[in-house]
């Protein structure tokens, strides 16, 4: 039976193609000069360069962390190229007509048409290809509502005050090794600002694509929801199938001011490497949001890709009554390794957090949940609920949970539940006896296991997640 399940999970990686795009790519290597050159091609102001250089010096003093339940050959950061952009992007195309059709085709193949007429009506997309943003759609429509949605490289020029004020304010430069590296070499990513009292009229989304060989992708996203505003943001990512490991080290910062709400969803489908663990993306990501009074940040992630995932989307619940949520599905198979979870830092009074984590391990993979719930002394009446479920498929995989609780306020309540289960022979036999083929049966059982998380995804993304794990009939009973 395990054999059949393995076959079922060994889906082809459909996003594994390479686009024939001529690129300008830096020679591999990392030093101050490379950082100056990145800053220069982006035409950045002096203050931005200074910020990068400072980060670089901080980073040079740091060491790669090794506390995660992961084992992988260290990446030689001198063999990575830190900038790659399609040549056609050099003249900064002003409209879609001027964008290299091969780039548009790439996104179309990935199911993200960038021509507005063909797009899903309710979603604006920022398409990032290697180190640059190719297109950001529906910008005018968003501007009418006062919403800013643009590449962060552009925001550095256009909205320097906002960038200066908020960049590094949630994830400080020295936060960790990969975040510091990102501060020094980040290339592009999305910037979002939602004005006071505004409900963003569309879903915003960024689609990250790595194409070039031997490059790292270091994107940076900053989302600011001003007082009483609301935004839902989606993120997707894929990369070609290559035998070498590639590094992706992103930083995402969310700022939810008083009474604001940010919903951030990710479907992570970086190339996972082959059955034997050859190739695949190393995904080392720092994501964190800060909630001011009555604000809410909700992270939902579906992690199916990457050879190695190191990722802990977190919430700093600074304001009273603020709310943090983390809903996660992490599926590992083959030789994939994931060490993922969240941190909920309760600072304000009556802050609340919910953590629902679903880990699915198959093949020879390793899947760990690592979560920290901290109740600071001032967190009167704070509450956390954590539920951590692991599903094992076969008997060669590993599932681990590392929950850390630090409670310094006696009135705070922390609840933790954890389960481990298996896709059983009985379940498989029942499905097959009803005529369902084994592949479908596995995906149905796995989907059922993930249901609580999937229902948190925006509709359009639920479809994508569903394609990844093959959902059907979700929510069709009225």
């Amino acid at each position: 039976m395990t054999e059949q399940i393995d076959k079922a999970l060994a889906r082809e990686y459909e996003a594994g193609f390479v686009s024939a795009v001529e690129s300008e790519t830096f020679e591999p290597g990392l030093d101050e000069d490379v950082i100056r050159r990145i800053s220069e091609v982006k035409g950045e102001p002096e203050w931005m360069l200074e910020w990068r250089l400072k980060a670089f010096r901080v980073w040079q003093e740091m060491e790669e962390p090794d506390w995660a339940h992961l084992s992988y050959p260290k990446i030689d950061l001198q063999s990575v190229s830190y900038y790659s952009a399609p040549k056609s992007m050099k003249d900064k195309p002003k409209s879609l007509d001027e964008v290299d059709p091969e780039l548009l085709r790439t996104y179309e193949k990935l199911g993200i048409p960038l021509v507005e007429q063909q797009m899903l009506a309710g979603i604006a997309v920022d398409a990032v290809f290697d180190s640059v943003s190719v297109v950001t759609t529906f910008r005018e429509k968003l501007e009418e509502a006062g919403v800013i949605f643009c590449p962060i490289s552009e925001a550095v020029h256009k909205y320097p005050d906002l960038i200066k004020k908020y960049i590094g304010s949630v994830v400080p430069t020295k936060d960790n090794y990969f975040a510091a590296l990102n501060c020094a070499v980040f290339t592009d990513g999305s910037f979002v600002y939602i004005p006071k009292g505004t409900r963003c009229p569309m879903e915003l989304s960024t689609y990250f694509r790595i194409n070039e060989q031997n490059t790292g992708q270091f994107e940076r996203t900053l989302i600011i929801a001003d007082e009483g505003s609301h935004v839902s943001y989606l993120e997707g990512c894929t990369a070609p199938q290559r035998d070498e490991n590639q590094l992706h080290a992103a930083v995402v910062e969310l700022v939810a001011l008083d009474n604001a709400e940010i919903k951030y969803s990710t479907v992570q489908n970086w190339y996972p490497g082959d059955e034997d663990g050859k190739g695949g993306i190393y995904n080392f990501v720092t994501k964190r949001g800060i909630c001011h009074t009555n604000a809410k940040i909700s992270w939902t992630q579906v992690e199916t890709g990457s050879a190695v995932t190191w990722k802990y989307p977190s919430c700093v619940l600074k304001g009273d009554n603020s709310i943090g949520e983390f809903y996660s599905v992490a599926l590992t198979r083959g030789r994939q390794q994931a060490d993922t979870g969240t941190k909920m830092i309760h600072i304000g009074k009556n802050t609340k957090s919910t953590i629902i984590s679903k880990g699915i391990s198959a093949g020879k993979s390793n899947n760990s949940y690592r979560g920290l719930v901290r109740m600071n002394p001032g967190a009167e009446g704070a509450r956390n609920f954590t539920q951590c479920d692991s599903l094992l498929i076969g008997d060669q995989c590993g599932a681990h949970t590392f929950p850390y609780v630090e409670s310094r306020n006696p009135s705070a309540i922390v609840e933790h539940e954890a389960t481990t289960s298996k896709v059983s022979d009985d379940q498989m036999f029942l499905c097959r006896q009803r005529g369902v083929d084994p592949e479908k049966a596995v995906s149905m059982i796995v989907n059922g296991f993930c249901k609580e998380v999937f229902k948190e995804l925006p509709m359009e993304f639920a479809v994508e997640a569903g394609k990844l794990l093959e959902i059907s009939l979700e929510g069709s009973v009225g």
Partner: protein
Amino acid sequence: MSNENVLLSIKDLHASVEEKNILKGLNLDIKPGEVHAIMGPNGAGKSTTGYVLSGRDGYEVDSGSATLDGQDLFDMDVEERARAGLFLAFQYPVEIPGVSNLEFLKVSVDSQREARGEEALTSAEFLKLAKEACKQVNLPVSFLKRGVNEGFSGGEKKRNEIMQMILLKPKLCILDETDSGLDIDAMQVVANGVNSQRDSERSFIVVTHYQRLLDYIKPDFVHVLADGKIVKSGDASLAKELEAQGYAWLQTEPTEDEIED
């Protein structure tokens, strides 16, 4: 015996589980529309028969044959046998948390329709059928939304099995002690569900320990399975006899001739 007009034909079937011989020369022919009851002591191989016919992993066929509608069952995968019209109602239905009953039913029905080259039903069409089936087995419609067998009582699980049978419209239904653990009302519901599906085409194997189910589902034949083979066959009156006398008196009798009848 000619194969003409036989739905299920089991010939001299020997099967084992974990190297242990369980079925030791089982013979049984079932024609379309017939209801056969199988009774017999615990451990006789009744459940094993259902599992071997449906192809469960770990149940090895050592020799003999079984055909459904002339097709060799042992040549097919589990799901192919199901699509060919074989349905097994489980003695102990398993839970699938988070997968709604409706989703499970629709995926099952769609899979079987697809295999027959039929179009998938729309969600609305299917929902209507599913609601009707719920009513037939006396389960509230809200059970469609709940996870498959998740937190169901024993009786609800058994009724859920019958609901699946109603929606899948199999040719051969094997009910493995569907009446065990049910009170008289629940048993009647199950019996009514089965009776509503009886027609001149559909056949049933009803495994039971109790005569009382057979008061509601009137069998055409009753067989006694003991130590891996059928030791006695008769009509409905045999069940009454068994109820009165138990199985012990049968086990010493020569039975080969009767089976070949």
